[in-house]
Symmetry: none
Subunit: 211 residues, 2 copies
DNA sequence: ATAAAAATCCGGGAAAGCAGGTAGTTGAAA
DNA sequence: TTTCAACTACCTGCTTTCCCGGATTTTTAT
């Protein structure tokens, strides 16, 4: 196999993190930083006309959330490996990222060695975690075990409206839908979350950062 | 006045951030990084036998929280300026830091120029914020303005039950109350939160860490 | 092309929530 | 002591949610 440099991209809205990562990665000679981006949109743009082998993706971005962006990246370029990078250590976050096609997940307290090691593992297609993440995954907690329901775009949309306290009919009016349609989505949401009223629904959703 | 280099310390448990900050600060020639620390304890130790003019202090640390550490620092070395550095953009966080003696507050999305500017302002004793923080402080958003409603013990109790998805009558049974009483509490809760249904109530409550 | 998933729409009935009150009892602070 | 906040309880009328059950069309993935 030819040993070209690995093209790596970073998506993070914090300049500090961008610089920090670049510094940490200079020691790994075979990695080339193809680009740094502060928004998901900017990276997607770049990806359309450039090859990226691996991308370090912050979960919280100004424009889109990491989960959705991850999914978009994999759709656009299935061979690009995505490593989630975040301060969020909740199991649900990690699981969600993997569901959406990420190859691994790192917390921002990674060391330089961990970082480069994870990158290389990811390039081999291995699912890889930073040390702190492995510990979280190893000790599953009751509440987190149930996993995160996979919501459709419409469902997410309506979930947000519900959380804002809007009634079914108000939502329907705003989205030009029949109230009955909104009712159905609401019903499905509650089924997916395995709850039986909005109160519990919203609690779960907020706690899982879906709102 | 003699122009010695400014002795600056960084306390942050993320290597990435440490490196990133160092990189960003190299451009400011008059600043010398006296030390980097990943725990509050380590920095306090250092401070006992070294002069530090200014410290960039992450709010979330493994051993202590930033507020308390800030207070300790000012007690030990009142002339050391503390700049809070965090991802947390909640107004309450910022205010708390200032109460505890911080000279300023930065979000981690600061630019290099902002960073050095804030450092210099802080050295002059000026209270200083990064741009994003100034915006938060200038425009108290609706949700932040109302502050946290003062709930009675009973109300908090019932709020939790509601968030768990329990119905009014179930709560009443569990607390040996009339359902009507629970209804009243629920009504009062919604008044205090200025919302008109449970969905919004729970969202607000969770987001304000009351659940 | 075909299957699967998502999004849309519908009915009816039971249950709960919402909004607007009123009002007695208690316990602590002024 | 009286005054006030909290907790308790009640009423009426109306709206909305919740829970069954379906159905059709459009989009997406294989």
């Amino acid at each position: 196999m030819l040993e070209h440099k690995v093209k790596l991209a970073i998506v993070d809205d914090h300049l500090i993190v961008l610089e920090g990562l670049q510094k940490l990665l200079t020691s790994a000679g075979d990695i080339e930083i193809a680009g740094s981006f502060t928004t998901g949109a900017a990276f997607i743009d770049f990806l359309k006309s450039n090859t990226v082998h691996i991308v370090l993706l912050d979960i919280t971005l100004p424009d889109v959330n990491g989960m959705d962006l991850c999914r978009d990246i994999k759709k656009l370029s299935p061979d690009t490996h995505v490593l989630g990078l975040s301060n969020h250590s909740e199991r649900s976050m990690i699981v969600q990222m993997l569901h959406n096609g990420a190859t691994g997940y790192l917390l921002k307290n990674v060391s330089a060695e961990e970082l480069t090691q994870c990158i290389h593992e990811a390039l081999n297609g291995q699912v890889t975690f930073s040390k702190a993440v492995r510990e979280i995954m190893a000790r599953p907690s009751m509440t987190e075990l149930k996993g995160v329901p996979q919501l459709t775009k419409r469902e997410k949309e309506i979930l947000k409206f519900i959380a804002d306290g809007k009634t079914t009919s108000a939502i329907a009016a705003e989205l030009f839908l029949s109230p009955l349609t909104v009712e159905t989505h609401r019903k499905n949401l509650m089924q997916k979350f395995e709850v039986k009223n909005v109160a519990a629904l919203i609690k779960e959703a907020v706690q899982r950062h879906m709102i």
